[in-house]
Symmetry: C4
Subunit: 267 residues, 4 copies
């Protein structure tokens, strides 16, 4: 009896559920998440906040109530989902789930009544709720493809990352010592800020080398930044190429050249 | 009789028309569009405008007359083109055509006599008239190829876009709260401006994080910017690769030069 | 007799010549070009110029003499090279050759004795002499491959360029009008400077939009800048892929699957 | 006897050694290197240094002792490794090894007692010790693949580099002369700093052209910067594509599931 309603609730709140009731629930929660993100953004604009303070508070309270209820229901019904059986162990496993952690992190501050100014920081976490909106099947598939590409090219990508880390440390150190006479950087961590902004070719220009040696090293670092980019881009491109191969070869080698047997993928 | 002259006008003004009269008309209209773009640009230079004010006004008037006549003729003749039959429905369908909308948007302000200062804004729309110059067959084909690549890789590209949106929101929020003590950003929308300029690796440097935490998050955002770029580039590269496949396999598996055995994929 | 010495001179000065004398001559001229580039660079450093003024003048004079003699000899001997026959027509064709034009542009100012301060501008042209150093066969081959890739992908690349031009004009215009209240840009050409620096993701930050609308359009422009880059990169990648295909398919289909005939490319 | 202990020491200190003792030793040295990098970074933060001065000195001394002992042992045992036989020649060959050079450069200043302020510069070299941490087999393989890709595409990459060098020199020169009236650049080397920062699309904005001509050339340079990037990225992408080919074709042409006919490329 309870098990049955549990199962129904679990299905209803499952974001991949296909019944119209489940879809409506998910659409409602999704819209509420989006509206919350918009609210968090608008709240930080002083005149807007001053004017609509009560509206924001009310909307927040309402959202929290909905999210707490939704979370409580999912927590309660979690044991009815495959892989989460068992009243204690299953629930613990559910709580460790990244989506549940994101939910909790966003809800807790309010529930504990500690919605102090600095804790609002944690609301940003709610943006991760976006992820819940990303479960549409087509997207899911390409997400798996991305993971597959990264995994297949892990070794190549890791060497690119290592090279980047090496260039990052060496250029930070070299620039700090080269710019010492001019006092451009207060410390190596200060030079690291410069290095990451240069290597990614962002280049704010808030800290800029001024000595001859510093500029020489900085030029080389900037060139390294291009490599930092070109390498992973080309590795990923080759990876995506390989992943898209099966469809291609299926087109090309549709028939065995010896016996005429058709290599049909539908079979 | 009228239907015949209609057809002739429709053919004459059709930008893909191949008769020499049609080509001349299109070249003339194309040149006039280009000159108008140049005029819009030059007009904004104060000394130039002060000096040649009358020339600009005259040229504008003349262009408008030409464009209005051309548009009126095409509107009138549109019913003679396949897919736009019917005096009312066909013409409505013609007006919904994106090229017609761009034309209308550019002409209307002048026609209505409301060429007020702030409405000149709308003249920029005329730049879209460039699109009319892009109908050359080779270009058209590669445009279709681009659309095909994007469509085939839609799922992969959409996840890249989603990741970008997620990173954009999260980094805007994190930076706003991290930089609060220093008051770098007035609000989250302010931080969003910073985030888009950083994620695209443009990096103006007009707003720059100054706190330790802010710089840490900013560095990660800048690295995310590289990903934001590397991912779509590699997805598109793999997509273009696939599209160019047919020619390739046709070359490779053509025919054995010895026995004439055909490795044909058409069968 | 003269024809014979002409041929010998032509061979000697031919940058792709393979005799040791030809190589030595080319190495000498090449080194002189490089030294001239270095000299042009160093001359602009005031203290260096003040100190070594005479050395620079002497070196310049010496170089000019060598280059004039070399050019005169090549001009005289040009008729002995295939494709440049005929004392008048052949020589005219030689003068139209891009390398000859670069040579002339660099020599003329000195020869005419008009080495005035502002004409030194033209010396930069000498950097193009670098091109003469690029004729090594392996490099030449890959240069041809690059030309082939660009030509094969011309249609795709041209649409990318067109899109970039369209985005460039539209964003310049939109930004100018959007930033009007703030007076950020003096004119549309001023906004064009901003647009090119943003679309290439360079982002100096010397002119930066400040209005809400301006920042919105600027953000979209910056995103367009990524596309501006991702598109040609992926088109070129697919192009290079195709060019490298033959070797690949030769590896894969080395043998006809029907009769066992080997598809050897050496044959 | 000595030879035997030598071999044991050589194996113990070999970073690719697989015995648990060798692994422990390498992990210890690796951790010490990482801690040294952290120490070098932290030392430059004034308040941290002021407080923990003695700790830094002690840790430095300890590290140096360990590194000297490790280097001495490896130097002594080097003759037992294949390729480094002979007490004099083998040891010289060992000293020429890039890893040994990096080790020496990092140790020497301390050993010679000249750990003067400005020589601390050399400590940055220790970051290269990171390389020792990169010898894990999977990483090694992909490193070799990277080298293979670069080597296979050497000609294409070199022309990209040459184009970059040409654009770099020409744009530096043009900008210097174009900006002369405004005095933006003190000299061509000054303009070179600008050029490298623009071509890599970093764009600090510390030196920015202000004249019309200068901005025109600068815009073209920025566009060239995109090419500078797109070209090597696409060349590398095609290169990685080729390297990953064998696995692919092996997958595709494996065996007909009907008749067992093998499409083998090894044959």
């Amino acid at each position: 009896m309870t098990g049955d309603s549990k199962r129904r609730v679990a299905v209803l709140l499952d974001s991949s559920g296909e019944s119209s009731a489940s879809r409506a629930t998910n659409a409602f929660v999704g819209a509420l998440i989006l509206l919350n993100v918009v609210a968090v953004v608008l709240e930080t604009i002083d005149p807007v906040y001053a004017r609509y303070r009560t509206v924001f508070r009310l909307f927040e309270l309402l959202s929290i109530v909905v999210f707490v209820v939704e979370f409580a229901l999912r927590f309660w019904a979690s044991t009815a989902r495959p892989g989460y059986e068992g009243p204690v162990l299953g629930r613990l496993r559910f709580l460790v789930n990244p989506y549940a952690v994101a939910d909790l992190l966003a809800i807790l501050p309010f529930v504990l009544g500690v919605a102090a100014l600095d804790l609002r920081f944690i609301r940003v976490v709610r943006a991760f709720w976006f992820l819940r909106l990303f479960r549409e099947s087509a997207v899911w598939q390409s997400r798996q493809r991305f993971v597959r590409v990264v995994r297949a090219r892990r070794a190549d990508l890791s060497i690119a990352v290592m090279l980047a880390v090496l260039v990052f440390f060496v250029s930070s150190g070299l620039l700090y010592y080269a710019e010492r006479p001019a006092g451009t950087f207060a410390s190596i961590p200060d030079a690291m800020w410069w290095a990451v902004i240069t290597l990614t070719t962002v280049g704010y220009g808030d800290v800029v080398p001024v000595t001859l040696l510093g500029r020489l090293f900085a030029g080389l670092t900037a060139l390294g930044g291009i490599g930092l980019f070109a390498l992973p881009a080309s590795i990923l491109a080759a990876g995506y190429e390989d992943v898209s191969e099966p469809t291609r070869s299926a087109d090309a080698d549709a028939e065995c050249p010896n016996c005429g047997y058709r290599l049909d993928d539908s079979e």
